[in-house]
Subunit: 252 residues, 2 copies
DNA sequence: GTCTTCTATTCACATTTGTTAAGGAGCAGC
DNA sequence: GCTGCTCCTTAACAAATGTGAATAGAAGAC
């Protein structure tokens, strides 16, 4: 039964319930899997998209580089997340994607996405939803980078990861694995490595979080949310309205 | 002939050439116009989308607010830009949209967008392109907020505005109107008002730009691009490939 | 026209964050 | 068990940016 419970399917069904043929189509997309080791580039800024991909296990990042080496991590890719969806439209990518850990993923032709849109409007709706959510997540990151302090940003990011991991059953009881170096955190939050470390320490010292190796425990989610001014509206975790599904079914 | 040369049509035709029926459909969308005065909220964070809108003239911003009043301007809306496209999917908006200047715009039901997708795949492709570009712009803004200095950010933003305004014939000879207070610039760049002012002054003093009232002249675009590490790939200003158009035509 | 309110500008000073440097813990390879 | 990595941690100091306050010109209200 690994198919039925794949992270992608969990993610989709959190938004719109699927029927058997739709689940089968996803299973088909996901059938062909590759294993990739940590720190492998999957998409390179300025180069062609290799196709559309789905991450099954492991973590990856989407990032942009400046010519002098500075880089901004724009988003995390967690199990169930897709990348390169714009391969459909754009020739070249303006960002890179790289694995942080060993990972398992499927890559396929954009034509398959087009086929999905044609045959399975509900899936199309779900993917549109994910694209829109991706944009919302990036906008929220920009907001944090522009307006929040280092402390607030760190707290906010941890809460976001918690919420997103819960959807794919990778977080429980406010605990999850965070397979990420502090350098990655720094480049995500727009901080220097040293300051990222300082900030983490403050979070630990204030009793809001607890860290043991790669495992993190958000001890007081309420307080963290308060500190970070975290409002999960932007993650659009609710179910899609019937009306929206209908609009897609008719449109396509 | 105001229809044919509307900013939206210019924007679309920069990406994919249109036929008469497609232009007519856009003209139909744009027929019903409203005039709105400066500093009017068009979409409110946490509330329902009023619909989908197209801006014909004037400037607006898309922004996110924190509960203590801080706000991040996530993107500028220039003539020809759309807002609220996600009204299709999401019930509530995670961001606000407000005019900066007096503006003229059209608002219509998401159902019309669905109809467009059904009847005019080329237009659907163009709108998908714009959505993807919007995300790319926000990702680039996040990159600037996280990695670039105030000086670099300011230079980068001015170059972005120049490029985007050129598409809709609102910039010529590296000059354009910038109907924006320094407070707006500050909230866009994640700076304090005072620092935004300081940064502007440095740009003026270094001879890179010239300002007279609301008119700005980028005296040395090459040098600005160098300072800002500006690469316009993320604006995806090229024409859509035939293959991509085809994929859309078949998909929908 | 006069009065108010915005907006731009600058100063002096406070704070956050970055930089450089160094040491230590953990782990893979030998 | 050593050696060389990578990653975490901390300290001292430097630089960038924020804050509060004051002034002046410009624009809008009446």
């Amino acid at each position: 039964m690994p198919t039925k419970t794949s992270p992608l399917i969990k993610k989709i069904e959190a938004v719109v319930p699927l029927q058997t043929d739709e689940r089968d189509f996803i299973a088909e997309l996901e059938r062909d899997r590759r294993t990739v080791s940590a720190r492998t580039d999957l998409v390179k800024q300025g180069e062609k998209y290799p196709g559309v991909g789905i991450l099954h296990s492991g973590w990856a990042i989407r990032y942009k580089s400046l010519s002098d080496g500075r880089r901004q991590i724009v988003n995390f890719l967690l199990p169930g997340d897709a990348f390169g969806l714009f391969a459909n439209l754009f020739e070249l990518s303006d960002h890179s994607v790289a694995t942080l850990t060993d990972a398992s993923l499927s890559v396929f032709s954009p034509d398959l996405v087009a086929e999905m849109y044609r045959k399975h409007p509900k899936l199309a709706a779900a993917f549109a939803w994910f694209s829109a959510r991706e944009e919302a997540i990036i906008a929220e990151r920009a907001t944090g980078l522009g307006q929040r302090t280092a402390f607030e940003r760190m707290a906010h990011m941890l809460l976001e990861l918690l919420k997103r991991l819960e959807v794919v059953s990778l977080a429980n009881d406010n605990k999850f694995e965070l397979p990420v170096t502090q350098e990655i955190l720094a480049d995500t939050l727009g901080l220097s490595l040293v300051h990222a470390n300082r900030t983490m320490r403050k979070l630990r010292e204030s009793g809001l979080i607890e860290i043991e190796g790669q495992n993190i425990f958000l001890r007081d989610v309420r307080a963290l949310a308060d500190v970070a001014d975290f409002d999960d509206l932007y993650l659009y975790l609710q179910r899609m309205s019937k009306q929206a599904v209908k609009r897609f079914s008719e449109a396509v």
